[in-house]
């Protein structure tokens, strides 16, 4: 059993800042869990508390069922990949990989023979053979990254921790390493906790994603579920590019009103009543041709404020009754409908789509 449980885990710094507010979260054995959130949301704190690099203020953390609050970092059976890689600059790659194994004591003692076998294994797995006798500074960023992963894995950790491991790589390498990380996880099945602020990493890597904001857990679910059924407006706005349209207003009698803008709600939301935030993803906004048909109650008349051509998609920034609405159109659809939607042009969209949501907060 090597699942990780955060039970009411809280971190309050000396100056009173609450970095993590009673986090309840379980990472199941073999699961790849991504902690996602903007900077300062507490995701790194959660990881550092688990690693033992900082003291827990309240609550506890269990690994494999046993409380680890007061265990030193090295005794928790963890491997960690740091954002800066934190390779020991004065040691060769081989020594970097072996360092943790040499420190093993008692049950964790590893003899010299076994150390060299495991280092070879790690080198094999991460394609590091050529670099084993070099110092970290002679390696490129991507190679250093591999060494850092190797160093974390060579101790056969119960849980693998990664703190924004890809953020120092260039975009191309990042995509490749992302794929490799997923592949490694599938090969080893090590329970993994991965911290990032990058939603693409979260969506692609995670079995499950836990979204944090201001020290509080907002939602933990499968990535696509978080995307399609966000628990609140924060999650809704944080996941997805361009971000979801969020219109603050009030629902009454099947009509949503926000300032001068008012439109009919879709059937599944028609029963809602009272203040709320109406949310619809840009790709779900239906762009209608002018003049066509008499219009349905969900139609909104907008003025095109700006157009962004991304190649595969086109993003329209639309102004309607003091609210800005983003609408996204695939290129193929674009062509079929013939209109480019020049800035200043009047355009009609339908927001009353089945994917629309109303959040209370």
């Amino acid at each position: 059993m090597s699942d990780v449980e955060f039970i009411g885990t809280t971190k309050i710094y000396d100056d009173g800042t609450v970095a993590l507010d009673s986090l309840d979260l379980t990472v199941r054995e073999g699961e790849f869990l991504v902690l996602l959130g903007p900077s300062g949301c507490g995701k790194s704190t959660a990881l550092r508390l688990l690693a033992g690099l900082e003291d827990i203020s309240r609550g506890e953390i269990r690994i494999g069922g046993s409380r680890v609050n007061d265990l030193p970092p090295g005794a928790r059976g963890l491997g960690m990949v740091f954002q800066s890689y934190a390779l020991y600059p004065h040691m060769t790659v081989r020594a970097n990989l072996a360092f943790g194994l040499r420190r093993g004591r008692g049950d964790a003692r590893v003899d010299a023979q076994e150390i060299s076998v495991r280092v070879e294994e790690a080198a094999e797995m991460l394609d590091l053979h050529k670099w084993l006798d070099k110092k970290p500074r002679e390696l490129s960023g991507g190679q250093q990254q591999r060494v850092a992963i190797g160093r974390a894995l060579v101790r056969r950790p119960k849980v693998l921790l990664m703190d924004e491991p890809l953020s120092n790589l260039d975009a191309k390498l990042r995509n490749r390493m992302r794929f490799e990380l997923r592949r490694l996880h599938e090969a080893h099945g090590t329970t993994t906790l991965y911290v990032t602020h990058d939603q693409v990493e979260a969506m692609t890597l995670a079995d499950r994603v836990a979204i944090l904001s201001e020290g509080k857990l907002q939602q933990s679910s499968k990535p696509l579920e978080a995307y399609h059924r966000p628990a609140n407006s924060f999650v809704a706005s944080f996941l997805g590019t361009p971000a979801m349209n969020l219109i603050e207003g009030a629902a009454k009698g099947g009509v949503f009103t926000a300032g001068e803008l008012s439109f009919a709600l879709p059937e599944h939301l028609a029963g809602r009543d009272g203040p709320g935030i109406f949310g619809v993803r840009p790709e779900d906004v239906q762009i209608l041709d002018n003049g066509e048909g008499g219009g349905s109650p969900g139609d909104v008349h907008c003025r095109v404020g700006g157009v962004e051509h991304l190649g595969s998609d086109t993003v329209y920034h639309l102004e309607a009754g003091g609210n800005w609405i983003r609408a996204l159109r695939r290129r193929s659809a674009d062509r079929a409908q013939g209109t480019d939607g020049e800035p200043g042009e009047e355009i009609r969209v339908n927001l009353a789509v089945p994917a629309a949501l109303i959040f209370e907060d």
Binding site: P73, G74, F82, S84, Y88, H90
Partner: protein
């Protein structure tokens, strides 16, 4: 000298072009910087002559100053024909004065150097005012085309002139540093007890034999070694943990302690001399090496701690965290990761402690009054009492004493540079 044929009124036809307005030959710009500098050096030389009470030298140098200043003034502002004429006259007079000046006296190396500070600037001025583009410019004969050519030429020439000026300056700086060393070496290899006299005129190793053959020197050396090595060891043992603690841990009084460390550095050592003496006397540590080791370690400690703290600050925390996760405890983290990365800083700190102890004079003089307990600096000083000064032996001993210092510096040069640029070291 084609420029002379032109009339300056020819330029009045149109407004001067941008190039014409900006163009000043690089030589003239250089002279405008160098001439005041040369005059300043001559003022220093004048001071030297006054100290020597050399009336002829003083009047000669004074004339040189006046001439250089006149030349400088004549070269200011716009090119005018009369300026050029005046400048050339001043330069010629200066050159003749400089050439004649040494004739009526013995010239030493120093005099030759002094007079070259008149002759070289004057000669350069005269030469540049008479030839090429700058000559034409001074004659007021340059037109737009010549100005453009001149600007292009300036780009090539100006860096060379700058480099020349810089090297002259640097050579003087080097000479200033090396001169005392040359002098003491000369004294040490001159037979007899002579201070001064011609450089390297005779050679004898008698003083070295005298110093190295005497028992006293070796006794002082061993005292100094014990004290310096002891200070280094004690200093490091205290400064390394202290620096690390200041760098990594938050504790009550941390800021205050750092500030006090800085504060102590403000006071000259002589202020604490008497209290130190009382302490040493009470503890019975006068005339012992331990007394000096304690005193020196404490004196050198603040700076060592600050230096080491700065270096430890530069070791990324993530490295320590990685080591913690790799199963190290705090002490192992320090010895396996932080210390190996900080060796340059440790080296510089060690060297600093060693040199402080090796060179210190005042405390050693006051604490250790017995002949057996002298350290080298005190021992050396005892060689030049009021009567019967052994200058030759003293010089030889000074050189021998400096050798370990020089050797240490050469050995640790790399580490020293690394250590001093601590902040730039990436983990």
């Amino acid at each position: 000298m084609s420029g002379v044929a032109h009339d300056s009124s020819g330029r009045a036809a149109g407004k001067p072009t941008l190039a014409e307005r900006w163009y000043v030959p690089a030589e003239i710009s250089a002279l405008r910087v160098w001439l005041p500098f040369a005059a300043l050096v001559n003022v220093l030389i004048l001071g030297g002559e006054a100290l020597r009470g050399n009336a002829a030298g003083m009047s000669g140098t004074l004339t040189a100053i006046v001439l250089l200043n006149s030349l400088y003034v004549a070269l200011q502002n716009d090119a005018r024909r009369w300026r050029r004429t005046a400048s050339r006259i001043f330069a010629t007079v200066a050159l003749i004065h400089g050439a004649l000046f040494p004739l009526w006296r013995d010239i030493s190396l120093y005099d030759l150097w002094a007079v070259s500070w008149l002759v070289v600037p004057a000669g350069l001025s005269l030469y540049w005012l008479s030839t090429g583009l700058s000559g034409a410019w001074c004659a007021g004969a340059s037109d737009a085309r010549a100005a453009e050519l001149g600007l292009a030429r300036n780009r090539r020439l100006a860096p060379k002139l700058e480099a020349f000026g810089l090297h002259v300056f640097l050579l003087h700086a080097v000479a200033l540093v090396v001169a005392p060393v040359v002098w003491i070496v000369d004294v040490s290899i001159s037979p007899g007890n002579i201070l001064g006299g011609a450089i390297f005129d005779a050679f004898s190793l008698e003083h070295f034999y005298a110093v190295l053959g005497g028992e006293a020197f070796w006794l002082w050396t061993s005292n100094s070694l014990v004290v310096a090595l002891g200070t280094t060891l004690v200093g490091l043992l205290l400064a390394i943990p202290a620096g690390y603690a200041f760098s990594r841990y938050q504790f009550a009084g941390r800021k205050g302690a750092m500030f006090v460390f800085m504060l102590i550095q403000m006071f000259p050592g002589i202020i604490i001399l008497v209290p130190y003496f009382m302490v040493m006397k009470t503890l019975g540590l006068l005339n012992t090496s331990i007394g000096l080791i304690v005193a020196y370690s404490v004196t050198a400690l603040p700076l060592c701690v600050w230096m080491l703290k700065g270096f430890f600050d530069a070791v990324p925390r993530a490295l320590e965290e990685a080591a913690l996760l790799d199963g190290c405890n705090r002490v192992e983290v320090f010895f396996f990761v932080v210390l190996p990365l900080s060796l340059p800083a440790v080296a510089i700190t060690a060297l600093f402690s060693f040199l402080t102890a090796w060179n210190e004079f005042l405390l050693a003089l006051v604490f250790n009054t017995s002949n057996d307990a002298y350290t080298l600096p005190v021992g050396l000083a005892s060689m030049i009492p009021a009567t019967n000064q052994l200058w030759g032996d003293f010089a030889a001993a000074s050189i021998v004493v400096s050798i370990p210092v020089v050797v240490l510096f050469v050995l640790f040069q790399r580490s020293l540079i690394q250590g001093m640029s601590a902040g730039s070291v990436k983990g």
